[in-house]
């Protein structure tokens, strides 16, 4: 991949967002993590609406880390929307949720999630999760061409 990969984090809880950012800074050197705080904003970001048209500042993501419990539009709705868009249907979406409920895992996979991660509660757990996630998805995996 010629350009630096980028991650979009959709997370409304500022503490969790900070934890993910810190973990990414520590373990995924130089990979930018953009953050939006609700589902509707995630869609604007992906569509390149308004300020998000500036892709140098708001890079189109290679993977999305998606919380489920979000204001305006929840994670399931965002997933359904992504999978219904011709240019986004293959974009890897990794759910990062506080929920251990089997029905949430099931709904997420049904809606087209590539993977489901349970949010670690502390920084050391988050460091491991984000590192393993980055090693696999950004160093090991052939990502789809989302644009055709």
């Amino acid at each position: 991949m010629a350009r630096t990969p980028a991650i979009l984090l959709v997370e409304d809880n500022p503490d969790d967002a900070l934890l993910v950012s810190k973990a990414a800074q520590a373990t995924l050197a130089g990979i930018p993590v953009s953050i939006v705080t609700n589902g509707a904003e995630a869609i604007r970001y992906l569509q390149g609406d308004g300020p998000y048209a500036e892709r140098a500042l708001h890079p189109f993501p290679d993977i999305i880390l998606l919380d489920l419990n979000l204001p305006l539009m929840n994670g399931f709705e965002v997933l359904h929307w992504i999978r219904s868009q011709a240019g986004l249907k293959r974009l890897p979406v990794i759910v990062l949720s506080g929920s251990l409920l089997p029905e949430d895992t099931q709904r997420a996979y049904e809606a087209g999630a590539n993977s489901y991660l349970v949010k670690p509660v502390d920084l050391s757990g988050m460091l491991q999760t984000i590192k393993n996630m980055g090693d696999f998805w950004l160093r090991g995996t052939r990502l789809p061409d989302a644009t055709d």
Binding site: K89, R90, P92, L100, P102, T105, Q106, Y109, E110, N114, S115, Y116, L117, V118, Q128, T129, N132, M133, D135, F136, W137, R139, G140, T141, R142, L143, P144, D145, D148
Partner: protein, 149 residues
Amino acid sequence: MMEQSTVLLAEDDPDDVLLTRLAFEKARLANPLQVVRDGVELVAYLQGDGRFSDRNKYPLPILLLLDLKMPRMTGFQVLEWLRNHPEHQGLSVAIMTSSDQDPDISRAYDLGADSYLIKPPDAEALLALVQRLHAYWVIVDHPLETCPA
């Protein structure tokens, strides 16, 4: 947690099977690696047909490493079969193939593959890949609970 989670490899090339087994051993993974040699045998395994009905010996896997070019039933056909069998929705599927052709990559994701890996060129790279696979799919990914068949 999930220390004994089974990984199932569907691969017809005996050399690749051997290399993958060695990589799992060398990585000192507790995960039992099960192997099927084509798509038909894979379906039998998942359905618990014949000898595969012994779930102590052949547990349902949490991760499937799926080759694309296999006799009798290809990896693409397996993906289609899985799509029609939602009881296996919790199975994470990583394609592991030598094809880096964009149409194959797109088709695999369209058919529901969770990720797509190119077979590494040597044993050292394969070991590194197996370690990343384990670190992600077994340690941090949260699998959907599968009902015992």
